[in-house]
Amino acid sequence: MIWAEKELHQFKDHHGEARVFAFRMVLSLFLVFLLFGLLLARYYTLQVVDHQHYATRSDSNRIHVRPIPPNRGLIFDTHGELLADNRPTFSLSIIKEHTKDLKQTIRVLAGIVEVREGDIANFYKLLKRRRRPYEAVPLRYRLTEEEISRIAVNEFRLKGVEIEAQLTRAYPLGDLFAHTVGYVGRISERELSRFDEQNYRKYSGTHSIGKIGLEKYYEKTLLGQVGTENIETNAHGRVLRVLDTIDPVPGKNLELFLDAGLQKIAAVELNGRRGALAAIDVKNGGVLAMFSAPAYDPNLFVTGISYKDYNALNQSRDLPLFDRAIQGQYPPGSTIKPVLGLGALKYGVVNFGTTIRDPGYYQLENDERLYRDWKKGGHGNKIDLRQAIVESCDTFFYGMAFNMGVDRMHIFGSQFGLGAKTEIDLPSERPGLWPSREWKKNTRGMHWFPGDSLNVSIGQGDVLATPLQLAVMTSTLASRGKHIKPRLVKKIGDTETKMEIIDQVIVDDLQWDYVMSAMEGVVHSFRGTANKISRGAKYRMGGKTGTAQKVGIAQDEEYDSEKIDERNWDHALYIGYAPADNPQIAAAIIVENGEHGSSAAAPIARKLFDAYFSQQLAREMLAEEEKLAARRTVDQ
């Protein structure tokens, strides 16, 4: 029944369906004609109405769009000394379309100037990647004057070969800023494969990109915007005239807090050693000096480093490519004692009157193990917190840590930036490690033992910190709790970067006074571990030495440097700030295998501070002179 109805229905509608279909068909045909007419009109416009315009465009004088690379922003130190410059160099490029025989041309070239296998391989790679015809592809960089003249003489044989002047990055101070400023290098295959359409545009005409350091971190700022020019060329690719130009926008300059003078001191002092130094302006978090030794010459990387040079750097035991200042994670040793002492005061674990008797070791209840003090036989009776900091008494801190407990130590230390990246404006910083109960459970699956707290209290065990972290910690101590994010860049273009306060540590003023006075005692009191560096100083400073074990020493064994390989000797550390009454500069120094913070690291801080204040003084005097001179001219 239903079927029959359906059929009937279908039958009834046939005429109607066909009529609708026919109507739609006619409509479609009409639309097809209309749209074809539109296409024809469009082609008529292009080919007849605007023919002249397009004909000139494609005439024998062909118009090319040429990218004009922007000048990369310069980098200056805090006094305006140039750290990263753009210098004109000459490179040799080939326009494939203009050569008669590309291979032959390259062969001829190789007979005239030095062309290495690698250069040729690179050239073909770039040629394949080329996106537009008539684009010059570089074959050689940094031609010498002699090579340029030899090419000029042979010009008739070298159709399609061009010598291009371009600006190449140069680092006048060489290895002094290798790790901070970093370097640019040729855009690699991998970087290119990650480019999107927009990046392709941005980097047309630009051959290099920031690889590490500030050059990488501020790549976008330094790069600038590409410009274009329409040029008319004849059949040989000679430019006849420039039709119109969109100027490139140069990248913004960077002015740093870093001071080349201080950087030189660091380089000289750490010369021949492995280590790092970081110094921070206490008032604003600006990094005044940051150096990792040994360093390397960043200029090697700019136009492509040779395999030999790269292998030498990469395979060196001293790891020159490794930035110890922000990537080197070391046990901080006793340098964290002032922070923990301050925390213990704050939480009332100890007070100004708390004293202990130090037999040279500490023992936990029901534990055989002796937690040794670095000083055999101990520091004596009636050791208070001040003396424990001044003489770096481990026994006092063992007991204090046991009473304070890991949780409070963790919370308090974290406020000084331990265990977290400092968020400095550099890529690939490492966070160090400031252990906690959760951390141990998550990574080791074990409970926290009181013995762990004891190790933490002298900056050993699992504790790790980068030199920059220690400098931030010191600066936070020196500014009475103002934990400021460290930054290298003072000005981007004409805009000053902003200071960012991460945390404000709140501790009673008297307790700050107490700990800071103890740190002053480290340097200036007779028994202070760093008292040697106070000799002849015209200002007072606060500090703390540290020694970090690199190899474990067995329970009944003693550290003896003569029995241990030099590379396993203890690391020497020092943190300090100056002047003591109104701190301006805070620094942290680590000398790998330097053995004693007091002798290997602390003197570097003194030299650094001396230079900082004498430079300041010299500048103030100079300003005064200028003022007087100005007044004199006015008087006249």
Partner: protein, 382 residues
């Protein structure tokens, strides 16, 4: 069983009057001679242009000739199939195509971030090509067995049939093909008599949805294409390059062109994709407006013939399918020629029967095979 199928038999005066022996021979081998002739003219013209556009590369020409040979054979074979068989197998063709599209997601290979091919070892195969045939066949079969104009429920089902492959291809992502395949289904819907209120309603909705689509749905590279269309001069080095160069090629050709192999734009490699998507620019440069006129005329004749076949078919399936194949062909032509001239955004659509391309030519000719099958279908004489 189908004695109830009272298909309206249109008695065309000309087909009745000139029922000569020659015509019946063509009919017996299922070939529409007029259409075949037009296609062969287009092929010949296309080969000449391709030879020039490829920088007179004989190997590319040889490749294209092989593709054509395969494509013509595919057309002739398809033309022999009984239309009712195709109609009955429509669902399986469609489902098979969907299966292949799903397969692409798992074992597909791709390039430039898109995953469109299935590798068969010796060749790569693009399942979206199957859908170019399957979608019109499926939608035509769907409406052929239902009363028209379509009811609301049927419209919804039809839209789902179209949307499923559309979305799968869009996700590959291949926006151009997704739009064209959807278009082939929507054309069927239109020819089947989609009520005007739906048509105007959806045009209105489409207009209103442009803003949200721009913000939420479109990828950056797609936005870039639209922006480039609006102002190609803004990005001379990047996306605008193609359009500027193709317009220069077309415009500099003038009325009579620069002559075969003399197009400087194309011969000196200024024009990108000159033997694939942008081939008409080569033709326009070397043969001028006259060459374009010739090409457009050939296309127009093919389309008119196709629409005539659709119009004179005896059953709704044949009508809808022929109409859809022909009009989709038109959409390809229009989109490509329009995009090269800077009227439409650059979507990867080749110029049918002229651009170098393997599977796409085979698919096109298979479609024309279906047209011939419809054109030569035996009249049901009771």
């Amino acid at each position: 069983m189908r004695n109830g199928s009272q298909d309206f038999v249109r008695r065309l005066p000309d087909s009745a009057l000139h029922f000569s022996r020659v015509q019946s021979l063509w009919r017996r081998i299922h070939i529409d001679p007029l259409l075949l002739m037009l296609l062969m003219l287009l092929t010949a013209y296309g080969l000449i242009v391709l030879y020039s556009a490829s920088g007179q590369s004989e190997s590319i020409l040889r490749r294209q000739v092989v593709f054509y040979a395969v494509a013509y054979i595919a057309m002739l074979i398809t033309a022999q199939i009984d239309l009712q068989v195709i109609r009955r197998w429509a669902v399986w063709l469609y489902l098979g195509g969907i299966g292949l599209l799903l397969l692409v997601f798992f074992v597909g290979v791709g390039a430039k971030g898109a995953q469109r091919w299935i590798s068969l070892g010796f060749m790569r195969f693009q399942p979206s090509e199957v859908m170019k045939i399957a979608v019109p066949v499926m939608t035509a079969a769907f409406f052929a067995s239902r009363s028209l104009p379509p009811k609301f429920a049927h419209i919804v089902i039809c839209l789902l049939i179209i949307a499923l492959p559309g979305v799968l291809i869009f996700k590959q992502p291949d926006l151009g093909t997704a739009i064209l395949i959807s278009a082939s289904g929507i054309i069927v819907l239109f020819l089947a008599g989609l009520p005007w209120r739906y048509i105007f309603g959806s045009v209105f909705l489409l207009g209103a949805s442009i803003w949200p689509m721009w913000h939420w749905l479109m990828k950056d590279y797609q936005k870039q294409r639209v922006l480039t269309l609006l102002d190609p001069e803004a990005d001379k080095l990047g996306a605008g390059w193609n359009i500027i160069q193709s317009k220069t090629a077309i415009g500099s050709g003038g009325v009579y062109g620069k002559g075969l192999f003399n197009g400087t734009q194309s011969q000196l490699d200024f024009l990108p994709e000159s033997h694939t998507d942008f081939i008409i620019a080569v033709m326009a440069e070397e043969f001028g407006l006259m060459g374009v006129l010739l090409l457009l005329s050939l296309y127009l004749l093919v389309i008119t013939r196709g629409l005539f076949i659709a119009w004179s078919s005896q059953n709704m399936f044949g009508r809808l399918l022929a109409g859809s194949i022909t009009l989709t062909f038109f959409v390809y032509v229009f989109v490509n020629i329009g995009m090269v001239a800077g009227m439409l955004p650059v979507v990867g659509v080749p110029l049918p029967l002229v651009s170098l391309g393997g599977t796409s030519i085979v698919t096109l000719m298979t479609g024309f095979g279906l047209l011939m099958a419809i054109a030569t279908e035996k009249k049901r004489v009771r």
